[in-house]
Symmetry: C2
Subunit: 212 residues, 2 copies
Amino acid sequence: MLGIVHIVDDDASFRTAIERRLKKAGYEVATYPSAQHLLDRLPNESGPGCLLLDVRIPGLSGPELQSRLGELGSTLPIVFLTGYTDVPTTVQAIKAGADDFLTKPVKPDQLLRSIQRAISRHEATRSIRMELDTIRAHIAALTPREHEVFELVIRGKTNKEVANALGATERTIKAHRHRVMEKMQVQSLAELVSLAERAGVLDSVSGSRQTS
Amino acid sequence: MLGIVHIVDDDASFRTAIERRLKKAGYEVATYPSAQHLLDRLPNESGPGCLLLDVRIPGLSGPELQSRLGELGSTLPIVFLTGYTDVPTTVQAIKAGADDFLTKPVKPDQLLRSIQRAISRHEATRSIRMELDTIRAHIAALTPREHEVFELVIRGKTNKEVANALGATERTIKAHRHRVMEKMQVQSLAELVSLAERAGVLDSVSGSRQTS
DNA sequence: TTTCCTATTGTCCCATGGGACAATAGGAAA
DNA sequence: TTTCCTATTGTCCCATGGGACAATAGGAAA
């Protein structure tokens, strides 16, 4: 399976034409006459896929649907395909992360190339996202206290320093630290820091440089 | 000083008009009648700034200049301002990282807003870039042997493991490791890993997870 | 009331990291 | 030839991390 393409367009004959074309190319296809129809049964991202959106559609416009999906946390790449457009709309859509912006009539291989690229990008995005989700899930499993220890440990504090900072014994910190390593599923401090950095927990560590 | 705006446009009267307008708004301005003129005296990035490019200019086109500057490592944000354009050109320019894409005639405050945003973005980019440059410079100062030790240490290897991997004594590794910490200007393993991750040295560490 | 989770501490003991002091060897540059 | 840099090792010694075995206390859930 090459992936699923979700088509949102109010022109029924256009939908079926594109659907036929994409299915012939090996894609799975789902069609929606309006943005609302798509939002009603939000595509899960269990497999690779992308959206093919018209800009002008009744109800929410293509770009509006794009921003709505962004709020909902969707990472499905979006390819716009529209008959009428203007520069600001185009620019805005791409800046908002659209993968491509095509105009009707579209050359078949141009469309397939854009769809292909969008889906490839989705696969890359998905794997990174899944990795991040895993890390965040592990972090979420930490108790409040463990989380405090975690935050200090990944900034290079020694057990003694953490103990002082949190008003506990070094021995206690060791216990927490041990559970942190366990829950985060890492064997070394280096791995722990690496995960934290990738999950964005360490952003702006640069500010923590001491002059002392 | 708000920053410097480099204008590339073959229309002399347009250049002076925009130049006057931007200077009035407090910006420093440099004008170039063609892409080649700008490439001849490549703007340094010692201060915040941005480029304002026409798309159709004699010689290298705006987008061609954009990609050329990319190759040269410039991080100056680009705002396109052009009279004629088509969707593919616009899409391509934005996807290639242009900050904005405006059409002539442009409303004065629209132009100023885009310039302002581009320059702000440049300031953020610059500080991140300078931080990366510092890290990379430190890494470049490592001797080949120190670099090998560095690579293994940031992946969580113990001195003993590094010693085995490199065919040296643990004592020797300690000496190298000490100099690595010194040259990288960090006090803890956590900081070292954090820097490495930010500099991209650790990419795809996920693949190093052992089943053992 | 009993059970489970979270936070805390203690004692031992051992592995690992890191600083101090010292020294050797080979290659490149002056 | 002398000087400097890089790579190597040794010996001591101490701080820190981490595992094993054990235990207490309070709050929430069953």
